[in-house]
Amino acid sequence: MERALIISLKVLAIDIPLLALLGGGIGWLLARRDFRGRELASLLVQLPIILPPSVLGLYLLFALGQINFFREAGFLFAFPAAVLGALLPSLPIMIQASRAAFAGVDRELEEAALTLGRRPWEVFLRVTLPLARRTLLVGLALSSARALGDFGVTLMVAGNIPGRTQTLPLYIYGQVESLNFARAHMAALLLVGVGIASLCLVHRLESGAHERLA
């Protein structure tokens, strides 16, 4: 169980920043940039949530299996695949949340910051981001919870190799399959504990955010 926990935590440690960067970034693009095919892109990024994880996992498996590079690099059925397996189905949640978050930021505040001589990236860091923070964090919490709990995709592309790709949810699955309910409950509790701890963390960050004025 400890090994599974550690792997789950390692997956989270990589996926949370990835979710924040990728999900936040794509959400920002969708909210703020007007490019051709934006609506199409916005639909496509939501596909992973429609497909059941096992189906998604299957397609992903075949897709990655076709690509020589991934095959050679031993990407599949190894830790990187576990990272990817947890990331993919949770990304749409983060993308949508960050899109809503950025769309909700009052442009005039950004403009005000620009006229005060701040460069665009400073404006982003010091105005846009803090104002979007609340919704961004909600999205991050939800999507990392989803990543933590992922089962189907990970099982398919990373396998269920103890000590290498067996995350907590996969461990629980194994325990249930062998009808070791006691251990399964323990592991589930642990999982929920980790989940709640990370939600609490996010919540603390969130409560610092101040309400916006009218």
Partner: protein, 377 residues
């Protein structure tokens, strides 16, 4: 004096067409015009927050925008501070942090003392840790003002900076603004609806109506009465009518306009003209007394629409069949009557009180269009 700001803007917003040219030296310019005339949008265009269709903007020799040459500096490099009409305070920052945001580049410690100083100048020293949502309307406006001023831009644009403030505070802040201007010499352009602000603060006023510049004038000229009198009207003061001067069959001159006519005295010639009557030159009549013969053709009767008491001056707005008239009276005199809304009043315009501007004389005081060319060179 060479213009520090030289701007020509031509832009379309929905069906609103903005076409404005401004030149401003080390001065305070006032942008004055009715609601919806395009003042705020002009400032946004200058600040670079709106892409302008055609335009040319230069500030202290730097070309910020030249739509022909494809030059367009982004807002954060224009160094033009803007106080937004709806303030745009950062809701997640305290009053102090809001002000700091604009002046941090000078080092943490120093910035903080500058920000504190500005908060004190706008009389908010005790509220520096409040968030905007915890401040009153006027307090918010002052935070926004402090933020814009502390930023020390190369040009400052203020969109109705005092609209939510009371008289004494306004006076104080106008003084602070003047002081800042004397110290730094940056051009300031500010938007206001208050005639008071124009006189107290401005060096130059730009009149704008329906997206077009309709005039510009030095304020000292206005105060010395040397401005075009129709500008007074734009500022909401005085009685102005457009019509023409005729000589009647008896040879007496008179002024005819849409809703009536007035007898004149000693006129140079006939022709289209503007007649201007100062409200304090209007004379009240006692209906029981005979009217002076000189005044007989110029008597009016009407209903008082509004009575204003402005310090020691009583100001009446009277609607008559021959137009709408402003009348002013010192309310000190023992004979001063008390007027109420709805009262019937009788008054006369002494022919000598009618100032005439013949329309041929009215050739643009400042040639606005040509200023553009110089910058290009």
């Amino acid at each position: 004096m060479n213009a520090l700001l030289d701007a020509h803007i031509n832009e379309l917003i929905g069906d609103f067409h903005l076409d404005v040219s401004l030149r401003l030296g080390r001065e305070i310019g006032v942008l004055f015009g009715p609601s919806g005339s395009g003042k705020s949008i002009t400032l946004r265009c200058l600040a670079g927050l709106r892409n302008v269709r055609f335009g040319l903007i230069a500030l202290s020799g730097r070309v910020l925008l030249d739509s022909d040459a494809g030059i367009c500096e982004p807002p954060h490099r224009r160094k033009m501070g803007l106080l937004f009409q709806n303030l745009a305070l950062f809701p997640h920052l305290t009053a102090l942090e809001n002000v700091l945001f604009g002046c941090e580049s000078t080092g943490k410690r120093r910035a903080k003392s500058i920000a504190r100083e500005w908060l004190a100048r706008v009389r908010l020293e005790s509220l520096e840790n409040r968030y905007p949502s915890q401040l009153s309307g006027g307090q918010r406006q002052r935070v926004a003002l402090a933020r814009a001023l502390a930023n020390e831009p190369e040009m400052l644009m203020l969109d109705e900076p005092f609209s939510a403030l009371d008289g004494p505070l306004r006076r104080n802040l106008r003084r602070e603004l003047r002081k800042l201007h004397t110290e730094t010499g940056v051009p300031i352009l500010y938007v206001t609806h208050q005639v008071e602000d124009i006189c107290a603060l401005g060096d130059k006023v730009f009149f704008i109506e329906k997206g077009k510049l309709t005039g510009s004038n030095r304020i000292s000229d206005l105060i010395r009465g040397r401005g075009r009198v129709d500008l007074w009207k734009m500022m909401g003061w005085g009685n102005v009518f457009q019509g023409d001067v005729r000589f009647c069959n008896e040879g007496f001159p008179s002024f005819h306009w849409a809703s009536g006519d007035l007898a004149l005295k000693d006129v140079s010639g006939p022709g289209p003209a503007i007649a201007f009557v100062r409200p304090d030159r209007v004379r009240f009549l006692d209906p029981r007394m005979p009217v002076d013969s000189e005044l007989s053709r110029n008597t009016f009767s009407g209903k008082v629409e509004e009575v204003l008491l402005d310090g020691g001056v009583l100001r009446l707005h009277v609607r008559t069949p021959r137009g709408h008239w402003q009348i002013e009276q010192r309310e000190t005199g023992s004979h001063s009557e008390v007027f109420r809304q709805g009262d019937e009043v009788h008054f006369a315009i002494p022919p000598g009180a009618i100032e005439l501007i013949f329309l041929e004389e009215m050739k643009g005081e400042e040639n606005l269009g040509s200023s553009i060319v110089e910058v290009r060179a």
